[in-house]
Symmetry: C2
Subunit: 304 residues, 2 copies
């Protein structure tokens, strides 16, 4: 196979280990890319970086997230055996093709997007000389950019891996290694199932958080902002995230989102109707079911 | 005035100080009542407690939240100059009258309910020998009961105070003293304005949190529960709270809640329509406005 050098294929058929992970190129040096780079380097990988922002490249070098880097993907990709694209979804889809055009044959390309179906479909269309596997490290914070990057961000987190038609054993092993080197737990998942799940637990909650903030503003109450405490803070935290990233992921997962939204609206109407009709039994039953389910997920919690 | 002994009125017209706060009776020894009692005792007050649960009384004595206590409000109220009722809203409304029936003339009765209009209306109907002022210490956590009580729970929190027709200078000063002795910041607010504000920032977010959990369950995805991380945890935290307390506060604030719900639904539909029509400009504009407003409230946040 022509990819021996670039991807570290071993002729004896043993599985790839950390020690022979080929050089990694991280494309996009923001919160996720920067944090992955820090972890990979700490785990012993050779890591380069590319960003359209010279400042981000300089900063990534300064904090030791990458050993070398630049602003040209075409210049950096030929040196990489593994390319991890960490950008908003639609940008990532474009960068996958650009990376594939300059990568050595057999290189493994992966991503960090929080919707997977469209990304994996784009991977399916990459040239057959390229390997590719979808990835979604499920951790983050509201702040963004390389300044927010931190080692250990993914410790204990789930790192979803989704197969494309360009996924082979080598790509599978590279995907798992990247997750493990960041302290995350790899979880193989069908891209469509992934997208339906994150619509319910991540994308819809982003919409409801934004709607809570906008509706509060619409009320025109000044007092409200003085009274808003821990409950509102938690309920709206997702709305403080990067709006580029947010609109991007919502636009690339619109069908599952719309189904999750329909289910949500039905339940919200049921709750609101019970409250406004003073149907205490119905309201209590719904709140109890939600509370029990929520507690079974996370247990009782610390003060907010 | 006949209340001199019970409420610590001073004949010289000086304001009541911590040192001459009359004995306090906390009615309801749960999370809020227990925490208030701990703080008041630490600040030097004499504190008794009453609960329908013998176990709660015993536990409150053990942790030093109260000096004496029992299960009969009628037995305890005659010894109190200040009575703080800390129970679910509709229970509190009933207990206000019961407390007033046994309290010495001039005693100040207050509460800790998170809706105020119906409570203050009930205070208006108390006998004219009784003083009363509405209160809402705005802190809490999901866990409930005396076991969850802790000193300092209200440190830095807003403690809303609302006037009833039974509020005079002495009651005002007692309300402020209780807040201050718990480390909270008293804020005088009209009961109706308070209720409109908390509908938007607390009661509606409870409904949306419950609806998010129920809708997620309705989706039937098992994967979802494995993937649910920090974002869902925060967005649904309010749903884990006590369901008795929750249904009670929603039922006693249904009109403001229904208005907040209508504003929310309008914004959510706008966001969902933009996502499903792939109207990137509209979606981005809405997310940006929400993100800016949210950041202006709480700033950028730590990892979740």
């Amino acid at each position: 196979m022509g990819a021996t050098t670039a991807t570290g294929d071993r002729m004896d058929g043993t599985a790839l280990t950390r020690a022979d992970l080929p050089p990694v190129l991280v494309v996009g040096l923001g919160l996720i890319g920067g944090s992955v780079a820090l972890d990979l380097r700490a785990a012993g990988a050779t890591v380069r970086g590319v960003s359209r922002s010279e400042t981000a490249v300089r900063r990534a070098l300064e904090i030791g997230a990458i050993e070398r880097g630049g602003t040209s993907l075409a210049d950096e990709a030929p040196h990489a055996g593994v390319i991890l694209v960490a950008a908003p979804v639609r940008t990532s889809i474009r960068l996958l093709s650009e990376a594939a055009a300059s990568a050595p044959p057999g290189a493994v390309i992966t991503d960090a997007c929080s919707s997977k179906r469209e990304v994996v479909a784009a991977m399916d269309r990459l040239p057959p000389t390229i390997r590719a596997v979808g990835g979604h490290p499920m951790a983050g914070k509201e702040s963004s950019g390389i300044e927010a990057a931190e080692a250990g961000l993914f410790k204990g987190a789930t790192w979803v891996l989704s197969e494309s038609v360009r996924t082979d054993d080598e790509a599978r092993r590279v995907g798992e290694l990247l997750a493990e080197m960041c302290g995350a737990v790899p979880l193989w998942t069908d891209a469509t199932e992934h997208d339906e799940a994150v619509a319910a637990i991540s994308h819809l909650p982003l919409l409801t958080a934004a709607a809570l903030v906008l509706a509060a503003e619409d009320s025109g109450s000044e007092l409200m902002w003085r009274l808003a405490a821990g409950g509102f803070r938690d309920a709206t935290r997702l709305a403080a995230g990067d709006e580029w990233m947010g609109s991007d992921l919502l636009l690339t997962n619109s069908h599952p989102l719309s189904e999750a939204h329909a289910r949500f609206t039905a339940r919200l109407e049921e709750l609101a109707a019970a409250a406004s009709a003073a149907d205490e039994a119905a309201l209590f039953r719904l709140l109890r079911r939600a509370a029990e389910r929520r507690r079974s997920m996370y247990g009782w919690e610390q003060p907010r």
